[in-house]
């Protein structure tokens, strides 16, 4: 399989990459790990006229922690995030989801920011960004701006990034005390895209009631789907089986699955309910134990 011809430019610096992109606009794509882009090009689903290779930019390969808030750079590969003790400590949801992303060879190459820029709603990571309340740091030759995860994913493979912008880093807020998170999915084989998956994050207040909640699902609509009304149902209440079942039923109403060759939309909706219930049950137990994952 061969992609359509394209021009190739190895970025010499972030500024160089942004200048090239400003000039080429939508004709050009940034190339990070290439684990989604290269197959998409081989299948001619993507035919960029130019690739701007970010792999030479070692300074974009970082994970920093500031008071528990994590920042992860554009060239940081999955395997580094997967095995980072600071990630497991401060945002265990991200550590928990990563082994579900394909296989070790892919995780040695693919990048988190590349995945998010690709905005595949079937991927687990956009949903995790919603549940974790991440922010995206976009740069262009003209400046930079922050975009909330909730505003970042616009549609199927479509983000809020402008043609001259690049997702340079993401920031994940520190998980507060008395929090618990959980990611759970059903896939035909480990490492495959899930038929449906749920990321949940819960924080208890001082009285042991639900102080904050977020729920997001993958492969459940044209974007990662936040089940905001379901999360709202939990707030202020006790996280018992009844409350969790009600939230799970509500989450089923909030998804818009399309079905695919492996499963019908009805089955995905069924999974959304079952998995939301399981994810919330685990997250609540972890929050009570004070072990977030």
């Amino acid at each position: 399989m061969k992609p359509a011809p394209f021009r190739y430019a190895a970025a010499q610096s972030l500024e160089h990459a942004l200048a090239l992109k400003a000039e080429a606009g939508e004709e050009a794509r940034f190339l990070a790990g290439g684990q989604s882009l290269i197959p998409a090009m081989n299948f001619r689903l993507a035919q960029p006229a130019m690739l701007i290779d970010l792999n030479p930019l070692d300074d974009l390969d970082y994970i920093t922690v500031d008071n528990g808030a994590l920042r992860i750079g554009a060239r940081t590969r999955y395997s580094r995030v997967e095995h980072c003790a600071e990630v497991a400590r401060w945002q265990p949801l991200l550590a928990e989801v990563l082994p579900n992303i394909a296989h070790p060879q892919i995780r040695n190459r693919g990048t988190l920011c590349g995945n998010l820029s690709n905005a595949d709603p079937a991927s687990e990571l956009p949903a995790v960004m919603l549940a974790a309340g991440a922010r995206m740091h976009a740069h262009s030759a003209g400046g930079d701006r922050w975009i909330a995860a909730a505003d970042f994913f616009i549609n199927l493979f479509e983000t809020a990034l402008q043609p001259d912008e690049m997702l340079v880093e993401i920031e994940l807020p520190a998980l507060p005390a008395r929090s618990g998170t959980c990611f759970i999915e059903v896939a035909r084989r480990p490492g495959d895209y899930a038929m449906a998956g749920v990321a949940a994050s819960l924080t208890l207040d001082a009285n042991g009631r639900c102080g904050s909640a977020s729920i997001a699902l993958c492969n459940a609509g044209p974007t990662p789907m936040a089940a905001a009304a379901a999360a709202q149902l939990l707030i202020g209440g006790v996280l018992d089986a009844e409350a969790i079942a009600a939230a799970a039923a509500q989450a089923q109403e909030e998804v818009e699955p399309n079905g695919n060759v492996h499963c019908t939309a009805d089955y995905q909706r069924h999974l959304a309910g079952v998995l939301t219930r399981r994810a919330l049950t685990s997250a609540a137990a972890r929050a009570r134990q004070g072990t977030s994952a």
Partner: protein, 225 residues
């Protein structure tokens, strides 16, 4: 004109038409740079931002090799077709099977999902680069000893992946089969069969030699642990 002759004439004209159409399509669809490159002796542009072939220096198995390749060439095709090292196999060509696994700077990657031009300056190791002075690498020897293959097509990828996998385990990296919490403070975890299977999940064996692959890797790991 007999039926046979008629159909032969139809085939001929259809073939001639198809040839003309393909040539015409190629002439219009190919960018100027590539059409020029197709002519023998044509000079390619020197700029890196060019769709035409450029000089790329790849370091494969400790040997630097210059090759003229287009940016569209995958690392796997460069290794097989340009460097002539056909040990690395093309299974699915889409990152699902692991038959093309090679080591890049000691880390295992699928060479089908990487472009050769991205790897100038990297240290690439293929199955051909694992033996030393005529002696098989211990993982190669274990695959032979434990009969860890049938047809052998996935084996180069399995072995390259195994070499990196054992190094990862030695460095104390966790996997989904052992949580990071379980491993805290443990430097080199003993690999259970479940661990080996999880860590080798990127390599598919259609013959189903998995039990013997696991046995071979258990033996190598046991020796070093």
């Amino acid at each position: 004109m007999s039926d046979e002759n008629e159909s032969r004439a139809a085939r001929l004209s259809r073939r001639a038409f198809m040839q003309g159409a393909v040539a015409g399509a190629a002439a219009t669809a190919l960018p100027a740079a590539q059409a020029q490159q197709a002519r023998p002796g044509a000079q390619a542009g020197a700029a890196t931002a060019d769709a035409a072939a450029a000089q790329v220096m790849l370091n494969i198995n400790g040997r630097s090799q210059a090759m003229r390749i287009e940016p569209t060439v995958s690392l796997l095709d460069a290794i097989r077709d340009h460097a002539g090292l056909t040990g690395s196999k093309k299974g699915c060509d889409r990152g699902q099977c692991g038959a093309c696994t090679v080591l890049v700077n000691g880390r295992r990657i699928n060479s089908c999902l990487s472009l050769a031009v991205m790897h100038e300056g990297d240290e690439i190791t293929t199955i051909e680069g694992l033996e030393h002075g005529g002696r098989l690498h211990e993982v190669q020897a274990a695959f032979v000893e434990y009969d860890a293959f049938q047809c052998g097509y996935c084996t180069p990828g399995q072995i390259c992946s195994s070499v990196a996998m054992l190094a990862e385990a030695e460095a104390g990296t966790a996997s989904a089969a052992t949580s990071a919490a379980d491993l805290r403070g443990v430097l080199a975890p003993a690999l259970s069969d479940a661990e080996i299977r999880e860590r080798m999940s990127g390599n598919i064996c259609r013959c189903g030699a998995y039990p013997n692959i696991v046995a071979a890797l258990r033996a190598v790991h046991g020796k070093s642990a």
